[in-house]
């Protein structure tokens, strides 16, 4: 791409530049999109890109075949993924060794590499086009859909897809109040967790007195099992940046800050690059597109604290202090960063802003339910066949997401629960699978929308152990200031741990519930106020599982180590010795070719013998 000679000074300059980019893109005959999302990168997709790059160069195809290293393409389970267009041919589980074949067969001859095509695990059908794969077809990928069409490092790709046209339109023809009116009409609600209406938040920021204001993009995605914001930041950083600039313009902020967690190095890199490129072409800085609006964006990298995702704590973290929340009021719109009016929006919320303004509020609010508009990205993970990111209209039922898109439960096991909302959310049982994913419906059921983590669990997940897991997480991640949160969580954890060891009594459940209710009421910030949800929701829907631990001293899922034991079935064991060799505790004894046995006193119940035995002779009881 030719470098731009000078900063863009008017909306017309931007359109001319866009036309030049599109003209240049027409010389490209094929595009190879290699997924660079974390899942695929973990599977070695960077090497695939390097091989493809080398091979294209060797075959002299570099000029007409474009190679992109993109953000998450969604179906992480089948990574590394490569999409070849035209045709949107979807190749999965690709290795570096397949690179040459993809170029030779598909790019040059237009033939398919059959073995790399996606086969549906349910009906055994093969799919060629990405658009036909059930996992993707049933989604509404408004926010994620462009991921494979653009290289996150390239502002030209984003501009080629019509990017920043909405910003130009806003700067040229709308004032802040008009933009906010449209957002209000769209009924967009914050995607970070609580679901506060974005339009109202912006209006408060705009109306707050003061000439210096800030807008912060909260990319401190700390919920375990959630990576929606990461994929937006990594895959389409300019869409987030465009939303942030529009937000700054609407509320009258001169400075924007992207607060991103250090665990996401690629997101940090990509957003920094996006900011630098936007500055170069004149979409950031002074007098953007001749509108007189000045706006700068900086990146603040978090140092690792879940609680600093809470907005008041986030402000302190950006200021460089200990990230403890404070009580509101004063609200951030009055007193935020450096005591100036501040608006904090989540990544996905900001990415929705250009979308809403482009689609128009009417079409946008046609998506979703009465109270929850638009689409939501969920990270569908756990014991589900198609792990990955799914973007669906709000209101789609849990069943549709898990069965139709997620392809049901792995290994033909039985569904037990789905956890939404991260450590602040709750676990919902099979009887609630027809619940729509709507802010109110999820809250009423004792969970919450949260940022969009959706963890599917099967019969082998112990719900008491899961409650223990979240409490242990929160015990570490609470800032520790409020007594109710610090000591309350520690005590709840103690009580739940006692249950998992079979050392508790049924009366403890009532005390646990009483304590959980008080922690919820008495704590200062969102972390403490929702910390009880995993306990309360599992007690509400899976009480019998708690009772099995308490009364029968039994863990039905076979997870809690103090309540299970391993045994070798003498009739099946042929004495191969694999378990004996693999046992790290030296608990398996027996002579070669004779049935082995496990010495209960030595056994640490790690389960390695069960995993190693090829004959199914090791039983968990």
């Amino acid at each position: 791409m030719e470098a731009l000679q000078a900063r863009l000074k008017t909306p017309a300059d931007l359109e001319r530049y866009r036309a030049a980019i599109k003209a240049k893109q027409e010389t490209i005959t094929h595009r190879l999109s290699v997924c660079g999302g974390t899942g695929c990168a973990g599977g070695g997709s960077a090497r695939i890109r390097d091989y493809l790059q080398d091979y294209l160069a060797r075959r002299g195809l570099s000029a007409r075949v474009a190679l992109r290293f993109t953000g998450c393409l969604g179906l992480c389970e089948r990574g590394p993924l490569v999409i070849v267009s035209p045709g949107e041919i979807f190749y999965q589980k690709v290795t570096a060794a397949d690179a040459a074949e993809i170029v030779d067969q598909t790019v040059l001859k237009g033939e398919l590499v059959e073995r790399l095509l996606y086969t549906d695990p349910l009906n055994g059908e093969k799919y060629v086009s990405a658009n036909e794969i059930p996992f993707l077809k049933k989604q509404s990928r408004f926010l994620l859909g462009d991921n494979w069409r653009l290289d996150p490092a390239s502002i030209e790709d984003y501009l080629g897809l019509g990017g920043y046209a909405v910003l130009a339109g806003c700067l040229d023809g709308l004032n802040g109040a008009e933009i906010i009116a449209r957002l209000k009409a769209s009924r967009l609600r914050g995607r970070g967790g609580a679901g506060f209406p974005t339009g109202i938040k912006w209006a408060e920021g705009r109306e707050a007195p003061g000439d210096q204001k800030y807008i912060i993009c909260n990319a401190d995605e700390g919920d375990p099992g959630a990576f929606m914001d990461r994929s937006l930041m990594e895959g389409n950083p300019h869409s987030v940046l465009e939303g942030l600039i529009i937000g700054g313009y609407a509320i009258g902020a001169g400075e924007g800050i992207v607060f991103v967690r250090a665990e996401y190095p690629t997101a940090v890199k990509n957003i920094r690059l996006a900011i630098a490129r936007a500055e170069e072409v004149g979409l950031l800085g002074e007098d953007i597109l001749g509108s007189g609006f000045d706006f700068r964006v900086s990146v603040s990298v978090g140092a690792g604290a879940f609680v600093s995702g809470e907005t008041s704590a986030l402000i302190r973290a950006v200021e460089g202090q200990v990230g403890e929340p404070r009580q509101k009021p004063p609200h951030l719109a009055q007193q935020g960063l450096w005591k100036k009016p501040t608006v904090v929006n989540n990544v996905e919320t900001l990415a929705n802003v250009p979308l809403i303004l482009r689609l128009g509020t009417e079409s946008y609010s046609g998506i979703g339910t009465a109270s929850s508009k638009g689409t939501k990205i969920f990270s569908l993970v756990g014991k589900v066949n198609n792990t990955g990111l799914v973007e669906v209209p709000l209101g789609m039922t849990l069943r549709e997401i898990i069965d139709d898109i997620g392809g049901g439960i792995k290994g033909g096991k039985r569904f037990k629960a789905v956890q939404t909302g991260g450590p602040s959310g709750g676990c919902l049982p099979a009887s609630l699978l027809d619940l729509p994913t709507d802010y109110e419906a999820l809250s009423e059921a004792g969970s919450m929308m949260g940022s969009g983590g959706m963890i599917v669990m099967d019969e082998e997940t112990c719900m008491v152990d899961l409650a223990r897991y979240f409490l242990a997480f929160l015990k570490e991640e609470s800032c520790g200031a409020c007594f109710s949160c610090r000591e309350g969580i520690a005590r709840m954890l103690e009580m739940v741990e006692a249950i998992t060891r079979g050392e508790s009594s049924p009366g403890q459940l009532e005390l646990l519930e009483e304590l959980a209710a008080v922690v919820k009421e008495a704590s200062m910030c969102g972390l403490g106020q929702t910390a009880s949800n995993p306990v309360l929701s599992t007690l509400r829907y899976f009480r019998e599982e708690y009772l099995a631990h308490l009364v029968d001293r039994r863990c039905p899922a076979g997870v809690c180590r103090d309540l299970i034991s391993f045994r070798i079935e003498a009739g099946i064991c042929n004495g191969c010795g694999a378990c004996r060799k693999s046992c790290p505790a030296g608990a398996v004894e027996g002579k070669k070719k004779e049935p082995h046995r496990i010495a209960a006193a030595l056994c640490t119940r790690c389960g390695i013998c069960l995993e190693t035995c090829r004959y199914g002779a090791v039983l968990k009881e």
């Binding site: 604290a305 800032c479 008080v518 200062m524």
Partner: protein
């Protein structure tokens, strides 16, 4: 001045003040462990919780950090507040039984049993000492170190701070380190009942305003 409603009474109070200051000015007793008039409020002990907002949409907030707001409806002794306060006091007793201040507060709130496992912490992390050191002495010798369950009061690198001037203010202000009254039952963290006044009528009523005698809440309930 800001006009607001506290326990059904319309009151006016200085702008910028906290609900706790207003309540105490009007003689309403609210227990605290981490509050001191001479220090910045911290909101950590959660005992000064009050219920704010219109019925049905109310929530509990720490009154020491919540500013008086025009038109705010505040209830300092609703059943919801007292339920939380009592359980927290029970938790305090279970955590740090050696403090006389905690013992007395628990006794006043009719906390007569401890259902949690008894621990013996010496510190409740109320932060009075660290704030005293920083705000009054400009010492910055000690601070809240660590996070979550690991949080503790300490000096940098666990070494004696060069900034400490041995003023002793930290131990003077500490609510946790005065020896408790051991009363007739030495082992129990609960007060021996020498101080136990008649418990408020919460089992029967939603609100008790026991700073008033006779109790207005009880009388009003009776009329309704």
């Amino acid at each position: 001045m800001v006009n607001l409603t506290m326990n059904g009474l319309e009151i006016a109070f200085e702008k910028g003040a906290s609900l706790l200051e207003a309540a105490r000015f009007f003689g309403i007793e609210i227990p605290t462990l981490c509050y001191n008039e001479g220090l910045n409020p911290y909101g950590a002990c959660r005992l000064c919780l009050v219920e704010v907002g219109a019925p049905g949409r109310s929530r509990l907030v720490s009154s020491c950090t919540y500013p008086v707001q025009p038109g705010l409806i505040v209830r300092t002794h609703s059943a919801r507040v007292l339920k939380a306060r009592r359980l927290l006091l029970e938790l305090y007793l279970a955590t740090c039984p050696s403090s006389k201040i905690i013992q007395d507060l628990a006794s006043k709130h009719h906390v007569t049993r401890v259902r949690f496992k008894q621990k013996n912490e010496e510190c409740i992390l109320c932060g009075l000492c660290t704030r005293y050191c920083a705000e009054q002495m400009h010492g910055h010798a000690i601070g809240m170190v660590g996070r979550g369950a690991e949080r503790r009061i300490g000096s940098a690198f666990n070494k004696k701070s060069e900034d400490c001037r041995l003023c002793g203010g930290c131990s003077y202000i500490c609510p946790a380190c005065q020896a408790r009254c051991q009363g007739p039952d030495e082992k129990s963290a609960v007060c021996g009942a020498c101080l136990n006044l008649a418990p408020p009528c919460l089992d029967d009523h939603d609100d008790a305003m026991c700073y008033l005698d006779p109790c207005a809440a009880c009388e009003m309930r009776g009329e309704r």
